[in-house]
Symmetry: C2
């Protein structure tokens, strides 16, 4: 497949400490697959400036698109925007259009606090990502898209970003359930995978009650080829049932 590739960078001590279960990667993975963007890596890092800068630079050099989540709020542990500016070697300042979005979100009768203004600091040369829920914008700069960690806001920002991105041929998949352990079908599966290298054939064991079974997932960009593979798998299932 020659689809564009992507990486996700999750920024947040709360994931690594075990306090919070990461909730955005699964959503992103599903959305990217439908667009034919090949998610190749997810990396979770702590709220550590240098670690974030290094990870951003490694991932943006290696992939067509990079999506980040977390660390764009008003508190001392929200350091993503500064790390993004450093990774790109640009300055960062409060910007009028971002300030206007925050003013609109809090209402025109309230004065913006220094904490509001912290969320209006934008790396030079970035574009804003609309945040319909709480006002504080995300940031797109180069091939990096910086979004909130709060799941509802992450989803809304992703909706705003994805339509403009370079996409590819959507990845299609079909799945077939076998009521035998994967060891029993490993040999014909290996042969099928070797014969159809344009497809990805994954084998996922499951255990449900007293049944040890296997789900076989066929993924690719050509629906006819996937159908051919499923027919072959159905034949394997009849002979190894």
């Amino acid at each position: 497949m020659t689809n564009p590739t992507a990486a996700m960078l999750v920024i947040g001590d709360e994931i690594l400490s075990g306090r919070t279960r990461e909730a955005n990667a699964y959503h992103l993975a599903g959305r990217l697959g439908k667009l034919g963007i090949d998610l190749r890596e997810i990396r979770v890092v702590p709220d550590d400036h240098d670690v974030i800068v290094d990870a951003l630079n490694a991932l943006r050099a290696a992939h067509t698109h990079v999506f980040t989540s977390g660390g764009i709020g008003p508190t001392h542990d929200d350091i993503t925007a500064d790390a993004v500016a450093d990774a790109f070697g640009v300055g960062i300042d409060v910007r009028d259009d971002a300030r206007a979005l925050l003013q609109a979100a809090v209402g025109h009768t309230r004065t913006l606090t220094p904490e509001h203004l912290r969320m209006a600091r934008i790396p030079h040369g970035a574009e804003l990502i609309d945040n319909p829920l709480s006002g504080a914008p995300g940031i797109s700069i180069g091939n990096v898209h910086v979004m909130a960690g709060v799941p509802a806001i992450f989803v809304a920002m992703l909706d705003a970003v994805l339509p403009s991105l370079e996409s590819g041929r959507p990845v299609l998949s079909r799945e077939l359930r076998f009521e035998v352990g994967e060891g029993r079908i490993a040999a014909p599966l290996r042969d099928l995978a070797a014969e159809m290298p344009d497809l990805s054939i994954g084998s996922y064991p499951f255990h449900s009650g007293s049944v040890y079974g296997t789900n076989i997932v066929v993924r690719g960009t050509d629906a006819d080829r996937i159908d051919q593979a499923i027919e072959r798998l159905e034949a394997i299932r009849r002979s190894h049932g």
Copy 2:
């Protein structure tokens, strides 16, 4: 903190494609925190030999302990053991003790298939990790611990591995709920974080019904210091309630 550090490497196309929601990182993070092992990175990579080798070598050089999940079954897409052998520059072969574990798991009247034997291939110099559920062992080599992706087996293997590892001072945490948005308390929080740099003070906004609130999490290894921080936070809450 001078606690030992750790990284997790999740190996599996099924996570990156959006088919499967990753389920082991949250468990690992919680267990390591209780042992005083500082989880510093989680990385998810596809079933790609070279990518796995590179990630293993980067993570094992940077951290005290590395835990992997996924890719140790009998099928063609289970390539973790070979990648581990290559990362360490050692050979890999079927080993008698691993073969005996698989023989015991399938019962002594059945003949092991080539697929069973694939799960008995062990990098030279590795130790086995007991798998009480399905027999096929995990692998410990150097500072890398290679475990199954199936959550019940991952948990069982982790139980077997953790007691022998270098640990540190357990990380304790307390949490305080504020019924105001985090912007309202960001300034005193920043001051408190600067004053108590031995603690990690995280701010996590939440939205529940009509309430925009903030959970403040204080983490550290000294219970008295955490209690002092919580007292200070309670005072902040009284004046910003």
